[in-house]
């Protein structure tokens, strides 16, 4: 059939959401110290690579169709998307892929500066398969939490228009769990060298995230009226959250910071995600201010509780995801005069549904992430060695440095690999790169 406006909107939305993951790479990558920037960005990039493949093969299939015990779809039903070829459903399948990708990429911010890249490449496809796909099925694919599901039928259907629970709460919880499993960075809370190395990159990332988020929130709009409301809310909430965050900083620290502005934008975007199609523009402004302010306060929690969620995935995504999800219990506009949130005079029904959905997402993600994360950590290990952490995760995991502005850290001879390109290398080299490939031969000649 001919392209319709709806098709075009979804395809563009999908491209926008795909762009969010590199955007996230910059948002996160700018926040690490310089010697961990590439590894940080690579955790997002490889998420695109691995989830892109998983989605085509079995991921999409698990998020729809007839479910297995209302928990997930049959992974073989649409294996390889084979049965979608020649249908317009491919458009929706593409859109869905981009959500799976960014969700897992979000988690990586919690383990900046110290994760083995190999371990992460194992974690990504497993987590998407075992946590994201089931949750997406439960909420959006006709499973447990949908109107027809066991829970959704019992306590009422929770509203999660664009992924407050499925994306942000689940990723935020996973981030917390991984941060606990990997432990704190050396110098956590003490070393000033851990301040962000490139704040313009953080701002670039926030800008690309915001841009892409119009597709994230808007792509599934069912009508022009709804699309317009979503657009306005996706602009208003982060704008207000930026202001909310900056005012909080101004009062608490004396200065509104650029990092705060970027963080506030993301907090507002996360908060409006589940609510974007169901609150008024003024509601979005209010939600934005509240989420910006609360997340600004929440970033201190990790120092109090002593877990090293390096880039504040918990304080931004989990906290704002919960705020947004629960906000619907208060400020959801009635549909055709019925239902809505407490502020519109409706009962607590919606709030209950929201709380239940959030709780299930939290529980599911916490348990599953703990299992996956611990299994990896206890076998191949999830954390790089202490020496590698000092010399830098970029060097140890990727044998690269992010920048070379012409300083003198470089010298010596250059050995293009051409000669040995097809030569056999010792087997253990590729099997245990983290030890034998680490070329900083400190102490070898001493």
């Amino acid at each position: 059939m001919d392209l319709t406006a709806g098709h075009v909107w979804v395809m563009i939305s999908a491209a926008l959401v795909l762009l969010m993951t590199p955007g996230l790479a910059f948002f996160y990558g700018g926040m690490t110290r310089a010697k961990a920037a590439l590894n940080m960005m690579m955790m997002s990039f490889i998420a695109v690579g691995l989830v892109g493949i998983v989605w085509v093969l079995w991921g999409y299939s698990m998020t729809g169709g007839d479910g297995v015990a209302q928990l997930f779809g049959n992974p073989f039903a649409s294996f390889g998307l084979a049965n979608l070829i020649g249908t317009e459903d491919l458009i929706g399948a593409g859109y869905g892929a981009t959500f799976a990708i960014i969700t897992v990429a979000l988690i990586s911010g919690a383990i900046a500066d110290r994760a083995k890249f190999g371990a992460w490449t194992l974690f990504v496809p497993i987590w998407v398969t075992a946590v994201y796909c089931p949750l997406a099925f439960m909420v959006w694919g006709g499973g447990l939490l949908s109107a027809d599901g066991a829970v959704g039928g019992a306590v009422g259907e929770a509203i999660d228009f664009a992924g407050g629970t499925v994306v942000h709460i689940s990723a935020g919880v996973a981030a917390l769990v991984l941060a606990l499993i990997l432990g704190k960075r050396q110098g956590f809370g003490k070393d000033p060298a851990q301040r962000p190395h490139n704040i313009p990159f953080v701002m670039l990332g926030a800008a690309l995230l915001w841009f892409g988020w119009f597709g994230f929130n808007g792509g599934a709009a069912g009508s022009a009226e709804e699309a317009g409301l979503i657009w306005i809310n996706t602009m208003a909430a982060p704008a207000a959250a930026m202001v909310g965050w900056l005012v909080t900083e101004r009062i608490r620290d004396g200065r509104p910071t650029s990092l705060g502005a970027a963080s506030g934008i993301v907090a507002g975007l996360v908060a409006i995600t589940p609510a974007c199609a169901n609150v008024s523009p003024v509601g979005a402004v209010g939600l934005g201010i509240v989420s910006g302010a609360l997340c600004a306060l929440a970033v201190g929690i990790k120092y109090r509780l002593g877990f090293d969620d390096s880039l504040d995935v918990v304080a931004v995504h989990l906290v704002a995801g919960i705020i947004g999800t629960l906000s619907l219990g208060f400020i959801m506009m009635p549909v055709d005069g019925e239902g809505g949130g407490l502020f519109y005079g409706a009962g607590p029904g919606q709030l209950v549904a929201q709380v239940v959905a959030a709780a299930i997402a939290i529980a599911l993600s916490a348990v599953m992430t703990a299992i996956i994360g611990l299994a990896i950590h206890k076998t191949i290990g999830f954390r790089i060695s202490s020496d590698n952490e000092v010399s830098g995760v970029d060097l140890s995991e990727h044998a690269e440095t992010a920048y070379e502005f012409g300083g003198l850290g470089v010298g010596g001879s250059f050995h293009p690999f051409a000669d040995q390109m097809f030569a056999q290398k010792p087997a253990q080299k590729s099997a245990e790169p983290q030890t034998t490939q680490q070329n900083v031969t400190e102490g070898v000649h001493s």
Binding site: V390, S391, A399, E400, V410, G411, G412, E442, V444, H445
Partner: protein, 112 residues
């Protein structure tokens, strides 16, 4: 007066500074350097080509001290910067004929 120069590991810089301050040093100058000694470099890979980075980053600490303090300061530097592995660095002492505090124009040991 003497100028004590220490080449140390960058991650030892904070420790060195703290120890010197505890000892009573009221000022110092730090700059970036790179070098090699017994310690050798590492390899970086770009599009399959290997680049050997022989010079490793170091911090250079310079302290102007009164003659009486030199031995102690050198000891403080050596003991705080030491890890026992190659790459720990070097400390050397140079004679200084005059020193001036720019702000006040004070000269000699009064300027330190």
């Amino acid at each position: 007066m003497k100028l004590v120069t220490a080449i140390v590991r960058p991650d030892k810089l904070d420790g060195v500074r703290g120890a010197l301050e505890n000892y009573g040093v009221q000022g110092l100058t730090v700059s970036q350097a790179s070098g090699y000694g017994r310690q050798r470099g590492h390899t970086e890979v770009y599009r399959g080509a290997e680049y050997t980075v022989d010079l490793l980053q170091k911090a250079r600490v310079e302290v102007l001290v009164a003659d009486a303090w030199v031995t102690d300061i050198v000891d403080v530097l050596v003991s705080t910067a030491n890890t026992g592995r190659a790459g720990d660095g070097k400390v050397w002492v140079i004679p200084v004929e005059e020193a001036v505090r720019v702000r006040t124009g004070e000269r000699g040991e009064a300027a330190l």
